[in-house]
Structure formats: C-alpha cells, structure tokens
C-alpha cells in the first residue's frame, strides 16, 4: 500500500547544476531511451536522494499500513476472512522487506531507515494515521486503499530505477489479490443485513476524505516535479492518479448501492476529468506533520516493536557477520 509520499515535500534542485554535464546528459539519454538505471551506474545526487526518500517512504507505508488492518486479524469473522487477512497483511510486511532492500541498494541501511521512521524524520502514507473503528473500515482499506496503491504503483513500476521497478512488479501482482479480497469482503457487506450495509456506508463516509488525500496535494498547489518526471522518478501528477482512481472505482462503489459523501463528485463531460469538493489540504498537512488521530500510536507501536526486538537482532550478529548491501 502506498500513497504518494514523495509528493508533499519540496525538493531543492540546486545540486543538479553541479553535476558533470556529460554524465548527466548520458544519464538522461538512457532514461529517455527507456533503459533502467542500476545500483552501480552513475546517477545524479538528487536522483539518488529522491529515490531513497521515495522508496523508503513506500517501505514505511507498508509496515505502518500493516497496523490498522493487522488489528483486525484477531477479530476477522470466520475462517475464510481470518486466513485471507493474515495472508494479506503478511504480504504488506513482505513488501516492506522487499522495498527496504531496494532502497538499501542506494546506500542507506534498513536500520537507518527504521530509525528515521521512528524519530519522525521520514514520512509514510498519511492514510494510515486514521483509525479503523469497525470491520468495515478494514474492508475499505483492503479494497479501496489498495486500489489507490495499485494506481500509484503500476505507474511507478514503469519508472527508471531497476531495483524499485522489479520490486513493484512483484508487489503489484500480490496487490491485485488484495484488491479481489477487499472487493469480496465489501460485496458481502453490501449484500448482507441492513446492519452490514450501514457499517460499510459509515466506513465510506469516514474514509473518503483521507482517500482523496491519498494521492497527494492538488497539482495547483503541489511542488514542482518536472525534473523528477523527466528522470522517471515520478510517473504522473497527483491529480492524474486521483482521476484514474475515480475513473476505475467510483462506478464500482455506486454499483454496490453505496453513496459517496461528496455532492459535487461527477465526471465533467467536457474535460473528461472528475469534479469534486477540494479536499481539506490544511488537514492533510496537519496529519502529515504528526497531528493526525493515530500518528503517535502508530509510531509508538513501531518503536516498542523495535525496542522489544533489539536483543534478538543483537544476538544474530556474530564476529563473522558483515553488512552486505543487497542486490535487488
């Protein structure tokens, strides 16, 4: 699961001017030809820095994202749901592992990344700072948050950094199962008792604003990302991704008889794009900067897990072990 974590922090492009112009031109030509950049290839400092930041934030989103759904594993109703949800959340943790390895190829260790997550220096997807009150909230995440993640990830899988693209290909294959699982859960709520239907409608009302935030600030106010688009670090604008999601999932939500809590939401026949109530970007910024309903809890859980597991990690180190950067 992933939500445009790279899109809300400004970038400084000054360092690009100091790069060797010949190397830079060759690098850009390779990307323009559709070649992948590999860990030992030359790359501009900004490219490396931005990729580390993006992949790392993606990895954090996976392991923090495991928490709001993970709390429902022990409460999932029935064998089928319990087993599927366990497998689904396990996949997310596995994605975290895969992505930390991809980011490590750029020179930052998993330990450093997790330390930066816990200290608050490094961000993760905003949506996981909201609480899952009911089973239906958990179903919303499995279906629609994962759907949003797939929109982002399919785009990013066509990017330029080899290890990240290969990780994303594997991740997308698993995410498509999550989507089916989540959709299946929601279909059963939709076709179930009035109480079950109401549960999902309430979840939809709660989660729609964070879902609209998920793709990052509107292109009108977001930071300039031309150079990142040229380098195929960022593969589409936030509004493009949001529109793609709405195109694909609004009809599916309506088909199940639910109401989307935005009276302005409709497709504009002239532009072919969706009109909607502008999400509250002040709230988005507040939550990203630590003041959401669950930020403290999420990081605290992660911090405690790290602390409690420290002796295990220490015990794995022997005089013979040495740090090796993974090949991905």
């Amino acid at each position: 699961m992933y939500g445009g974590g790279n899109t809300f922090e400004g970038i400084k492009t000054d360092s690009v001017a100091q790069e060797d112009p010949q190397k830079l031109a060759a690098f850009e030509a390779r990307i323009a030809r559709g070649e992948k950049i590999e860990p030992t290839d030359w790359m501009p400092q900004l490219y490396r820095k931005q990729l580390i930041r993006m992949i790392e934030q993606h990895a954090h989103s996976e392991i923090i994202g495991a928490l709001p759904e993970g709390t429902w594993i022990t409460r999932a109703p029935g064998f089928k749901r319990k087993m599927s949800l366990m497998a689904k959340v396990q996949d997310e943790v596995g994605h975290g592992q895969l992505l930390y390895s991809a980011a490590e190829t750029l020179g930052k260790s998993r330990e450093e990344m997790i330390d930066d997550l816990i200290s608050g220096k490094s961000k993760y997807s905003n949506i996981f700072n909201y609480p899952t009150f009911t089973w239906a909230d958990c179903c919303f995440i499995s279906w629609l948050v994962d759907a949003g993640a797939i929109v982002n990830q399919l785009a990013n899988a066509k990017g330029s950094y080899g290890p990240y693209c290969r990780a994303l290909d594997r991740i997308c294959a698993e995410e498509s199962f999550h989507l089916k699982y989540g959709h299946h859960c929601v279909i059963y709520l939709a076709a179930g008792s009035p109480k079950q239907r109401a549960m999902f409608q309430e979840a939809l009302n709660r989660w729609w604003p964070p879902m609209m935030h998920f793709f990052g600030p509107s292109d009108k106010i977001s930071v300039h990302t031309e150079v990142l688009m040229k380098w195929k670090v960022k593969m589409g604008t936030n509004d493009d991704m949001r529109n793609q999601f709405l195109d694909m999932y609004v009809p599916k939500i309506l088909e199940l008889g639910f109401t989307i809590p935005d009276p302005k939401l409709k497709k504009n026949p002239d532009t072919g794009r969706w009109d909607y109530t502008e999400p509250d970007w002040d709230e988005f910024k507040r939550v990203i900067n630590g003041d959401g309903p669950c930020n403290k809890e999420r990081l605290e859980v992660r911090r405690i897990a790290e602390e409690r597991g420290k002796w295990v990690r220490e015990a794995l180190k022997t005089s013979k072990t040495a740090y090796v950067t993974p090949l991905a």
Partner: protein, 251 residues
C-alpha cells in the same frame, strides 16, 4: 470405532492449532525483525488452515459448521492445552512455546499418518510439508539464540522454565485414550511424550541451555477438559467480536 473418543481427539488437535495460530498471528507487525514477522504469520496461516481442516472432519462426523464451532464456543468448551492460550509475552517466550509445541505437533502428525481413521491419516500426510518448516524454523532459532549472547541465553532459559510445565500439559491423557489406541486411531499421549522428550533434549543439547530435569516438573493439566487460564476467554471474545454481531449472516 469409538466416535466419542475420535471426536475428542479431533477437537483437541483443532483447538490447539486454532488458538496457537491466533496467538502467532498477533505477532503481525510486531516481530523483532521483518523476517520473523513474516515467518510467524506463515505459521499462523498454516495452523489456522490445519484447524479448519480438522473442524471440517468434525462437521462430517455431525458437528456444526467450522465457523460456528470455532467462533461461538466459550472457553470451557475448548480442548486446547493451556500452553497455547498463554499471551505471547516477549519473543523468547513465543519462540520457546513454538519450539515445544511444534516438536510435539510434528511428532503427533507423523504418528497420525498411520491412523486407522483414514481421513485423519490423509490429512496428516498432506500437512507434513508445512510441519517440517515449523520445526526447522523453531530448531534453527533455538540453536541460534541458545548459543548467542548472555541475554539471549538467559531469556530462553527463563522461558523454558516457565513453559515446561505447560508443555507437559499437552500430553494429558483422555479418559478414552485406551479406545483410541485399541482402534489404532492414535498411539497415545504417553508414547508421544517419550519421543518428544528425547527430541527436545537433542535440540537443547546443541545449545548452552540446560536440559530440564523431567522428574521434578509438575505438568499443568486441565486444558483438555475445558479448564483454562484466565487468558482464554478474553482472547475468544476478541476473536468472535465481529462474528457475534450476527452469527447467522455471511461475512
């Protein structure tokens, strides 16, 4: 064939796996390293899947649907050993429990591959591959951490002392044990316990952990008869929280 004895055996197996599978799943997102998070989740999925298969066998013998049986009984109707219901504690506690339980579980299922009750023998054969990984995982970690740092060795030793009486509780005999043995369904808890002890000793002797003095240990019995610790009912309440909103509907 003694149906009552058979059902009791199936319930015992199914409940152990359901409860420990549930406990293992509580490590999701909380593991000491991502790889262990993933490993405990895999084992949880295997265990819950195996327990589901056993509840299906029970259903074929006239018991209710697996979901109803698993999600609506109270603690005193559960047949699991107290060992598996204890809260996870720290990683050393969960790891030692995993080692002690899975050693017994894999030996039990090896015996059951020869059960005269054919559906059980078939299931036993089918899950051998999964079980091999569970013991491989447990034994590898016990050997690693049991030979590593002072802290890891002390922690493991402490958990072994706490858990061993509960582990012996797994082998509480059924009042109908003789019927199971005579019918060739299961070779019995005593036979199982004897091999288990030697296998546990074998792994521990490859570490700096002390092998337990079996003679002075007092087993914690009762789980097989529905007498549980205070930890089981709250766990079941949590497990059935959504299901009980409407047990007649599909989720």
């Amino acid at each position: 064939m003694n149906d009552q004895a058979l059902k009791e055996l199936l319930y015992k197996l199914a409940d152990d796996l359901l409860i420990l599978g549930h406990r293992n799943s509580e490590w999701t997102g909380m593991g000491p390293l991502l790889e262990e998070d993933i490993a405990f989740s895999s084992m949880a999925q295997d265990k819950i899947g195996q327990s589901h298969a056993l509840f299906q066998l029970l259903h074929q013998l006239g018991e209710q649907q697996p979901d109803l049986v698993a999600f609506t009984r109270n603690a005193n109707q559960f047949h699991n050993a107290v060992l598996v219901e204890l809260p996870n504690g720290e990683y050393d506690f969960s790891l030692v429990r995993h080692f002690l339980f899975d050693m017994a579980d894999s030996l039990r299922w090896q015996m059951l591959t020869n059960s005269s009750y054919e559906p059980l023998a078939q299931l036993a054969k089918k899950i051998q591959g999964e079980l091999r990984y569970h013991t491989l995982h447990a034994n590898t970690w016990i050997k690693q951490l049991g030979n590593a740092t002072e802290e890891s060795i002390t922690r493991l030793q402490g958990s072994l002392s706490k858990l061993m009486p509960y582990a012996l509780g797994m082998f509480e005999e059924s009042p109908m044990e003789a019927a199971l043995i005579n019918d060739g369904i299961f070779k019995g808890e005593q036979a199982l316990q004897a091999i288990w002890k030697s296998k546990v000793e074998e792994v521990l002797s490859a570490t700096q952990l002390a092998v337990p003095d079996w003679k002075i240990l007092v087993p914690v019995y009762g789980g097989r008869r529905g007498q549980h610790s205070e930890h089981l009912q709250p766990m079941l309440d949590e497990m059935s929280e959504v299901f009980r909103i409407d047990p007649t509907t599909e989720w």
